[in-house]
Amino acid sequence: MSEENNEQEPASFVEDGRTDQAADFLRDVLHSMGMRCQVHIEEPGENDDISDICLQIEGPDAGRVIGKRGQTLAALQYVVYRFVNRGGQLKRHVLVDAEGYTARREDNLAAMAERLGQQAIADNKIITFEPMSPRDRRVVHLALAKFAGVTTQSQGEGSERRVQIIPVRR
């Protein structure tokens, strides 16, 4: 890892041991679920914070770990998040992926956002997404952050919050 100061890397971040605890907890959960798989700790990606806990699941039961439309994977990520942040400490994000499923999904979402960005410009119309999770909304915002001719913003509250792509006048 670079020693240079990057905007996303507060120099003050020191691993507090929760990454290893999260990986061990996830291994125990998967073991009691009867899943044949391993858990690896990964470095946070370029769009993640340096303090994010990134866990990758691999193995023959990865498909079952992901579940229908990723719902089992989402439930795993949620319980690991709750486990990691149960004390009064600083909250840390948790990303649980299996065989790159989430990474591929987010790549597809970012590519779709760019296509819709072009369409918003071509039609000069606001495009509104279906309600999405905070992380998915962030994927869209980031994908279009440097995209000339549109801005993005979120509208609505809670589970109804949606991203809008808004063409800007040049």
Partner: protein, 81 residues
Amino acid sequence: MREADPRELVLLLARALVDQVDQVRIDEVPTPRGTVLQLSVAPEDIGKIIGKDGRTAQALRTLLSAATSRSGRRVQLDIVD
């Protein structure tokens, strides 16, 4: 093949979510339609198990059903207070 342990799974998850870990109790009740796991926790921890809009309870049931999907043995989770 690795066997799922539904009781162990629920115990592990419940202990990770509550403050009063020693108050987590699971009773296994066999019924004609499968096993029912009755989970009880300290009264002040009930909200932590159920979660906002039942989200935590939903996650527990999702994981329980993924764990038991291969064996075909139905295991139901009841949160008792």
